[in-house]
Symmetry: C2
Subunit: 272 residues, 2 copies
């Protein structure tokens, strides 16, 4: 999927919502008896028209045991080709090894993209940029408390690490294969981020359970292709613990989609 | 396994060799018909008395398809409890998620340790330090070319990132649960690293195929508990492409063990 195709879908749905499929069987409604695939299918059916992307985090599927990756693959197959899919795996290793991770995410699982940790530098990221139509989504500024530990320090007396990661990485790929993870808990930071990478798409976690502010993210972060995929996981998946979980998930996704439609109208009145 | 127990095994075997089980079916001897578990068992049988640790990289098992993690689990079971096992996975996510990765590595797979990427900071690392007898091995200075991109820059006018990672992380765990990855391609750097973390164990990749220098690493990196696990993967696994692959692997491991025994005698004459 290209950047332009992704923007077309955002316009068509008036939504840049990504639903995070971070499924914990202990939080699923009791009547499903721990059937993660059934839960995922119900959530997908309930939200399909309201979102443009799905993001399963691989950790939650590893937690299901040795067959977890099979459930993840079945989930991605069920989503199909009309949505942008993100294997949220935060991988990164020496080039020879990153190649295997890329192959697993893009071919074995069939995801459109994978999240990538930048610590090991260029040869750890480049293998994810060698697949036609596939994307690497590189961690820049994350939404957790620990983002304070290393990401904000000035590098050689200049920019903070998260900006240096964006600057360097942007040179390794183009706008149709490279996004950045930018946490939503610091909406005012988005103006700074846009000064570094004005045209890239950002994957924005941290809305909802982590306290992020959707309006602020749109105000400071939207570009002329929208440029945002805003993720919500727990706020949608666990909107109700009962048999009405899918309807509640839909209502929660609908609230976000309504806000997103308003933001598109406000910031991109002629384009979206 | 504690640090002291690990040192006991190093003394008993006169070896601090870690065998990297990064198995690529395309490089295995043809007569094995792609049977990775059979290959691993033969390599383990041929090297068991010469090494103290085994390090399968999870990327190579993902590359085997959806049953790859089962082959990894069977490999770890075959190794048993007499060796220190490392799931080389380079994981790291927000705390809620890292917990699932830790559970998979330590409980589902049964590994003694996992490698961890530090970019997301404290709450991404701490969940790996909450398991009795288990270890987090945090990336500090890696052995690849890309280590130049981010790891060496001065942080807020002070130390380079790889030293800051060591300093910060060392405060989150103790010597019985925390190691660092320090690449062997820059042996002279080990004196600097030891100034920051004199007592920790280091996992040292980059010997052999990546060009690292074992003698230099020992000279600058050994501490009074040895403090080194030196990994070799390709140089052992693919020492011969023929039916004698296991004997050739043993000969390759034996050469390293002989050098390691000499280094222990030279640098720890009374203790090891």
């Amino acid at each position: 999927m290209t950047r332009t195709e992704l923007f077309h879908r955002i316009k068509a749905k008036q939504s840049f919502l990504c639903v995070g499929l971070d499924v914990d069987p202990a939080k699923m409604p009791a009547h499903l008896n721990g059937d993660v695939l059934a839960f995922n299918k119900a959530i997908i059916d309930a939200t399909r028209d309201l979102c443009v992307a799905y993001k399963p985090n691989t950790a939650f599927y590893e937690a299901l045991g040795l067959d977890g990756m099979r459930i993840l693959k079945d989930t991605l197959d069920y989503i199909g080709d009309d949505h942008f899919t993100i294997a949220d795996a935060k991988r990164g290793d020496i080039g020879n090894t990153s190649r295997y991770y890329a192959n697993f995410a893009f071919h074995t699982l069939g995801a459109d993209s994978i999240t990538v940790a930048p610590y090991m530098g260029e040869d750890s990221v480049r293998p994810f940029l060698e697949y036609e139509g596939k994307w690497a989504i590189v961690l820049a500024l994350t939404s957790n408390q620990g983002s304070q530990d290393f990401q904000h320090a000035s590098q050689d007396g200049g920019e903070p690490l998260y900006k240096k990661v964006m600057q360097r990485t942007a040179a390794w790929g183009n706008l149709d294969q490279l996004m950045f993870v930018c946490g939503a808990t610091q909406a005012e930071k988005f103006a700074e981020l846009r000064a570094v990478t004005p045209d890239h798409f950002y994957l924005v976690p941290g809305i909802g359970a982590q306290g992020g502010d959707l309006a602020g993210v749109c105000k400071y972060g939207m570009n002329d292709h929208c440029g945002l995929l805003v993720n919500s996981s727990r706020g949608i998946l666990y909107a109700s613990p009962g048999e009405d979980f899918a309807e509640a998930a839909r209502a929660s996704a609908q609230r976000l989609q309504t806000q997103m439609a308003a933001a598109l109208k406000k910031y991109l009145p002629t384009k979206a």
